[in-house]
């Protein structure tokens, strides 16, 4: 079948071909055998998720699922948590539709309709957002279908509807930002909003749970009497998504119809301005920012100081990168809150044990991100590599820059814990240092030459590094929690963390 050039299906076919080739290249890296690895690995992970979901929903199914206010609050709360993830993803993706430059200049300079291109790319964002949603939720839904019946299949319709609403909202927000802040700030603000939406709701619920129950559990928060009492009556329209997910056909049909209308209408409204705004975003490449001369320029400094100063300056001047890196610090808000409300009252009773793993985990993840920026994300790699200093000195300076930032972030929290329960602070500091060192070492072993702008894609570039970094941080967090509780079992996760580090060494590419 021949498609009319520049028509909607033709552009869609072009996008699909590129996306397909990108996905295959990413999964196989040019080696077909890797695809089998992906299928086997992905299948195993999915199987494990299914197993966990199976046992998680079993008591609920055995007790007999009753559609009462409590069930509706619970399902809606979890749906809202999930929806924030898809909304965050959609905001990121829609921003890329305007600012991604790969073939945009080519297409926008052609006679093809920019509105059609927008429609196709908005459709692609909707498909990818839906796919992410289905992937995340399908173990739970399949477990419910197998144990409680096929009515739960309608939960998939809810996922599609939530994805459609997410993309529609993301398009509207991006368009509004273009109007309010202009093309220069839209990307940054949209990405910060995406980060805050993605993490903020989870953290907000956690913070609310801490304030009301002095515990971390989000699920307990949704089941609390106060929340259930304050929620609207069972026949409220607010429960439409929950009822749709529970298999009621009318709410499901209504929800999917409403969401698709919202998606199509928003795309149709915004599409005509796409070409103009995308071109305005492209014009930013030629905008020059004026800076006041640096007071400390041309002062005596060692080579390591020069490198560190450059790292700090670049990080400080890149608010998007800064926001992406420091977004992980948002996760420190709940433990800090817990620390604050318990401060002085329960310093010795082990309350702080909850905080230890959170801080250790955050420290490991923050170190991983910063280490990638400093070690791999070097825009002038050749310049630094041809400078008269040994590779070891370069690495040392960059690692010092990473550790200095982490120390700056962690010190106040450690100090607070230290004043209340100093042994706990020591445990936290030791495990956080271990997690940071491990993440930095992994980034060192897996270092590649990349532009800083590739930061967002670093996790795609090496999944082995990402997984090793995540497992290492989790295991050091576990070590911290057990050690803080005074259990000698702490040695277990510590040994496993070292094992993960060993595996990372084996998996890391050898320098050529």
């Amino acid at each position: 079948m021949t498609l009319t050039p520049a028509s909607l299906p033709w552009l869609a076919a072009h996008e699909f071909r590129l996306a397909w080739r990108d996905t295959v290249a990413m999964m196989t890296g040019g080696r077909r055998m890797r695809l089998f690895g992906w299928i086997a690995g992905g299948g195993t992970v999915f199987g494990i998720m299914l197993l966990i979901a199976w046992f998680a929903v079993r008591p609920w199914v055995e007790a007999g699922i009753v559609i009462d206010k409590q069930a509706l609050v619970m399902i809606s709360g979890m749906g809202l948590l999930f929806w924030t993830v898809t909304l965050s993803q959609a905001l990121e993706a829609v921003t890329r539709v305007y600012y991604g430059r790969s073939d945009l200049d080519l297409i926008l300079s052609s006679p093809a309709s920019s509105a059609r291109l927008f429609a196709v790319r908005a459709g692609a964002v909707f498909v990818s957002t839906t796919a992410l949603g289905l992937l995340l939720v399908s173990p739970l839904v399949i477990a419910l279908v197998l144990q409680d019946g096929p009515r739960w299949f309608s939960a998939f319709l809810v996922i599609i509807a939530l994805a459609a609403f997410s993309v529609a909202i993301a398009m509207a927000v991006t368009r509004l930002l273009f109007r309010l802040t202009g093309p220069r700030r839209t990307r940054l603000i949209a990405q910060i909003v995406a980060g805050i939406v993605g993490a903020g709701f989870v953290i907000g619920i956690q913070a609310a749970a801490i304030l009301s129950h002095e515990g971390f559990s989000r699920l307990a928060f949704f089941q609390s009497d106060a929340i259930i009492a304050a929620a609207p009556a069972s026949d409220s329209l607010l429960w439409l998504p929950a009822r749709a997910a529970l298999g009621e056909p009318m709410p499901a049909l209504l929800l999917i119809a409403l969401s698709l209308v919202a998606l199509v209408a928003t795309a149709a409204l915004i599409a005509p301005s796409y070409g103009r705004l995308a071109n305005a975003a492209a014009g930013l490449n030629h905008v020059r920012g004026q800076r006041r001369p640096h007071k400390r320029a041309f002062r005596p400094a060692s080579q390591r100081q020069a490198l560190r100063r450059k790292e700090f300056l670049l990080l400080q001047r890149d608010p998007w990168l800064l926001s992406q890196t420091l977004m992980q610090l948002l996760y420190l808000v709940p433990p800090a809150l817990l620390l604050w409300i318990n401060y002085g009252a329960s310093s010795g009773d082990g309350t702080f044990i909850v905080i230890v793993p959170v801080l250790v985990m955050a420290c490991g993840q923050l170190a991983g991100g910063l280490a990638w920026l400093a070690i791999s994300g070097e825009d002038a790699h050749d310049l630094v590599a041809t400078a008269p200093l040994s590779p070891a000195t370069i690495l040392r300076a960059k690692i010092e820059a990473v550790l200095a930032i982490i120390t700056l972030v962690m010190a106040p929290l450690l100090l607070m814990i230290g004043l209340a329960a100093w042994p706990m602070a020591l445990v936290t500091a030791a495990c956080a240092a271990a997690a940071a060192a491990a993440s930095t070492t992994i980034q060192l072993w897996f270092r590649v030459t990349a532009k800083r702008s590739m930061f967002r894609r670093r996790q795609v570039a090496s999944r082995a590094a990402t997984l090793c970094e995540a497992f290492s941080s989790i295991l050091w967090a576990g070590t911290g929690a057990l050690w803080a509780a005074g259990l000698s079992l702490a040695i277990g996760p510590a040994v496993l963390a070292l094992l993960v580090l060993g595996i990372a060494r084996l998996l890391a590419p050898r320098p050529g």
């Binding site: 490449n285 030629h286 905008v287 020059r288 920012g289 004026q290 800076r291 006041r292 001369p293 640096h294 320029a297 041309f298 002062r299 005596p300 400094a301 060692s302 080579q303 100081q305 020069a306 490198l307 100063r309 450059k310 300056l313 670049l314 001047r317 890149d318 825009d379 002038a380 790699h381 050749d382 310049l383 630094v384 590599a385 041809t386 400078a387 008269p388 200093l389 040994s390 050529g512």
Partner: protein, 254 residues
């Protein structure tokens, strides 16, 4: 006085051999142009000289320093400018030069003076405190060149420095390089703009299929092909000869 650059038996293979036993000797204060078709191995040779790639075999000596045994001392004496300007988007030209001066440990007072002079010389003064992120390719290349000069190197290696530059910017870069060679600095440059090599280089080396197939002054190269002609004709003849010889030697080996 030692040669500015002395290369012997330089060899490098990636998935296939890219540089095949190249020998090269360039005197101090010389302007040397390295020519060759795309993929001939020019950039690989220069990247090995600059310490960015490790050779599989061979030796590199820079101003008498064994660059493989003591890379730091060798790097102290040279500068590398690639076709993709090595500049940070979020630093201004002055901040960039401050950073480079820090890496090469240039005395701060001298570095400040030198940075301002270079910025003036290259016509970047109005943009000295603007972030490089919005600069054109030509401006970025000039910032990179200023970075290469701020530490007063004795050997400057440039890989396609004039690609994408407008006539004015190209003229400025060429003037800077001429001034430097007349002050005794050695310049090695790859270029596809043969007119530049013809006008500026004292000696020209032609690389094809990873081998140095011809070398000498323009007159020597003309003599070699036996015709009074342009460098373009000479270059195309030499490359064709080189390809024919390579093909013959492959047949012999088979």
């Amino acid at each position: 006085m030692p040669a500015a650059l002395s290369i012997s038996g330089l060899t490098k293979a990636f998935e296939r051999p890219v540089v095949k036993g190249v020998d090269l000797m360039i005197g101090a204060g010389e302007f040397y142009a390295l020519l060759g078709p795309n993929g001939a191995g020019k950039t690989t040779i220069l990247r090995m000289v600059a310490g960015l790639l490790k050779p599989d075999a061979g030796s590199i000596s820079i101003l008498g320093i064994d660059a493989l045994a003591d890379p730091v001392s060798a790097k102290r004496r040279m500068a590398w400018v690639s076709d993709e300007p090595m500049v940070y988007d979020r630093l201004t030209p002055l901040e960039y030069l401050d950073f480079v001066a820090g890496l090469w440990q240039v005395d701060p007072t001298r570095a400040r003076q030198s940075a301002h002079e270079l910025i003036d010389w290259l016509g970047l003064s109005p943009h000295a405190n603007e972030l490089c992120g919005g600069f054109s390719k030509g401006m970025l290349q000039k910032v990179a060149l200023a970075g290469a000069l701020v530490h007063d190197p004795d050997l400057i290696i440039l890989d396609e420095p004039l690609t994408g530059l407008d006539a004015g910017s190209a003229r400025q870069v060429k003037d800077v390089l001429r001034t430097k060679t007349s002050a005794g600095v050695t310049v090695i440059m790859t270029t596809h703009i043969l007119e530049v090599a013809e006008r500026m280089a004292e000696r020209i080396g032609v690389i094809a299929e990873g081998r140095l197939i011809a070398e000498g002054t323009l007159e020597e190269l003309r003599t070699r092909i036996g015709r009074e002609t342009t460098l373009e004709e000479i270059f195309l003849d030499l490359v064709a000869q080189g390809a024919a010889e390579d093909s013959l030697s492959k047949q012999d080996a088979a």
